[in-house]
Structure formats: C-alpha cells, structure tokens
C-alpha cells in the first residue's frame, strides 16, 4: 500500500465540533482500507485568498495534516467523500515519494549553446535527412471492393 499525505483545511469550528469532524475524516480513510500513520496540526491561520465552500465564503481556516497508507483505488473514493463534507474547505491528497537524488546539472546548462549536449543533439538530428517513403494504399479497404 503506498503512503499518502492528506492536507485538510477545515472551517473555523469550536473544539468539540473540530474533533468530531476530524474523527469523521479519519474514519472515512479507515473505511476505505487505509491505515493512519500521523496526525499533525498546523494551526488556525488566515487563508491566502477567500475560498467558497458549500455556499459560504471562508477567510480563516484550520490546517491539519494526515499521513496514511491506503490502497491506490481508495484515493478516488476518499476525494468523493471529502467533497460532500461541509466542514472541509479544501483537501489535497499527495502521494509520499522519496525524491530521486540527482546531481546538479547547472554547470552543463550554463555553457554556451555550442557546448551544450542537448543543443548538439538537436544539430545531429537536423543533419539526419529523413526520406519520405511512398505509402502504398493496399489494402485500402476492409472489404473486397469488387462485386462478385
């Protein structure tokens, strides 16, 4: 089961209501066959822009982060469930992947075009003259065109 990260944005609620809504969203994950791993609170912050959710405009929200493992088929269902929840303003499910370690190619990119590998490849490609081959249109039809 791949690991996912869910960033929840809940509307401003009293503490018991907040707890119940969080419990609800956690239960949906478990229902879909997921395993909760971490529960992190980012806090109540003003939103970067006003967001409309379920006939209401919100300018403040409570941010929460949930890390869980779930089957890949469950994500679609989760998003569907979260759409219907009134307390959730925005949800974003991201797959947790370890970043691929790559060497910095800045030195190569800062060279002048004549010395850059990708430019040299383009030049080589342009030098290759592709001759157009005549396409024979036989068989042209799926059926036998002449009446027997």
């Amino acid at each position: 089961m791949p690991s996912y990260e869910l960033s929840l944005m809940l509307r401003v609620l009293s503490k018991p209501e907040l707890v119940s809504s969080l419990k609800r969203s956690a239960e949906t994950i478990v229902q879909q066959g997921g395993v909760l791993r971490q529960f992190i609170s980012i806090g109540t912050k003003p939103l970067p822009f006003k967001i409309r959710a379920h006939t209401q405009w919100h300018r403040e929200g409570t941010y929460f982060l949930m890390k869980f493992d779930a089957p890949s088929s469950a994500v679609e269902n989760l998003n569907d469930e979260f759409k219907r929840d009134i307390d959730l303003i925005r949800t974003h499910v991201v797959k947790c992947e370890e970043p691929v370690k790559q060497e910095c190619t800045l030195e190569e990119e800062l060279k002048s075009p004549a010395y850059r590998k990708d430019v040299q490849q383009l030049v080589e490609e342009s030098r290759k003259t592709v001759r157009k081959q005549f396409k024979q249109n036989s068989p042209g039809f799926d059926y036998y065109p002449f009446q027997k």
Binding site: P48, C104, T105, L110
Partner: protein, 166 residues
C-alpha cells in the same frame, strides 16, 4: 673509454645509491700504484674492457625524466551548483515561505530559470510544488505576502544567471 667512465661504473657497482662519490678517492683505490698526476695522461694506460651498464642506467634516468601522467587540471574551475542542490533543501508544498522566495514581489509570478538560477530538475519541482500549494490553499495565487518581502533574496531579476530579453 676514459678512466672517468671506469671509475663511474665501479662506483655504481659498489655504491649504486650514493651518488656523491669521490672519484679521485676511488681512483686511488683502483690504481694504487700510480700517482694522481699520472692519471691525466690517458695515452699511457691500457684500455680496460669493462661491461657497459650505461643502457640500464640511461633507461632509469629516462623514466625519472618522463612527465607525470593522469594529473588533474589545476586551473579547473569549481563546478557551479544551484542553491537548492548545494544545501540539499527539501522543497515542500506546505512550505509556502520557501516557495515565495521564487515569486516576484511585484507580479506574484514564478521567476524563470534564468533568474532563479536553479537547475532544470529543481526548477520543475519548485514550479509543481507552487501549483500544489496554491491548490491546497497554502500559497496565494497572484501575490506575494507582505510578510515575506524582507526574506533573503535568492532571485534578483536585475542580475539574471543567464541573459533574458526582459
């Protein structure tokens, strides 16, 4: 063949490592019956046949004289690295402040690669994370927060890494 060469070869035979040899002292040892002054009259003395070791010694000298190979270029410049690769920074969509450092304070738009000075892969990651942050509601879309204006400048549009038309 002069007696000098004889003495040299004898010296090498006895003391191959010791290069500073008193030739005269050795000559006295080899030919004790003759006076030193008489040594300079080479025509008087018979030639001695001694095996030549010159080729062997010459080859040794040649090996010392050859230039050393496989040396690195001492004038080679250090490889430039983009700031995110250099410090191994983990770019995350939740880290709106870090992402804001790559936005223009005037237009709120993402700076291009020539201004940010990032390598291709990192630039792509930053751009995708900015979009994620905007979708998830962590980062504003068309502006840069006023609280982030005084952050350390990573991008200076007036001094791009590569020249641009603007």
């Amino acid at each position: 063949m002069t007696y000098d060469t004889v003495a040299d070869e004898y010296a090498r035979e006895i003391q191959p490592e010791n290069k500073i040899i008193n030739k005269m002292a050795l000559m006295q040892k080899i030919l004790p019956c003759f006076h030193i002054s008489s040594l300079y009259r080479t025509s008087m003395f018979p030639l001695l046949t001694v095996r030549h070791f010159t080729n062997f010694n010459a080859s040794l000298q040649q090996e010392d004289d050859q230039p050393a190979q496989n040396l690195s270029n001492p004038y080679q410049k250090e490889k430039r690295c983009c700031i995110l690769c250099k410090y191994d920074v983990n770019v995350d969509y939740k880290n709106a402040r870090l992402l804001s450092q790559f936005l223009s304070p005037f237009t709120g738009k993402v700076y291009e690669r020539n201004i940010t000075g990032l390598c291709k892969s990192k630039q792509k990651i930053v751009e995708s994370e900015i979009i994620k942050a905007q979708n998830a509601g962590y980062l504003a879309i068309m502006l840069k927060k006023v609280e982030y204006f005084k952050d350390p400048k990573l991008c200076d549009p007036d001094r791009p890494v590569r020249p641009h038309r603007y």
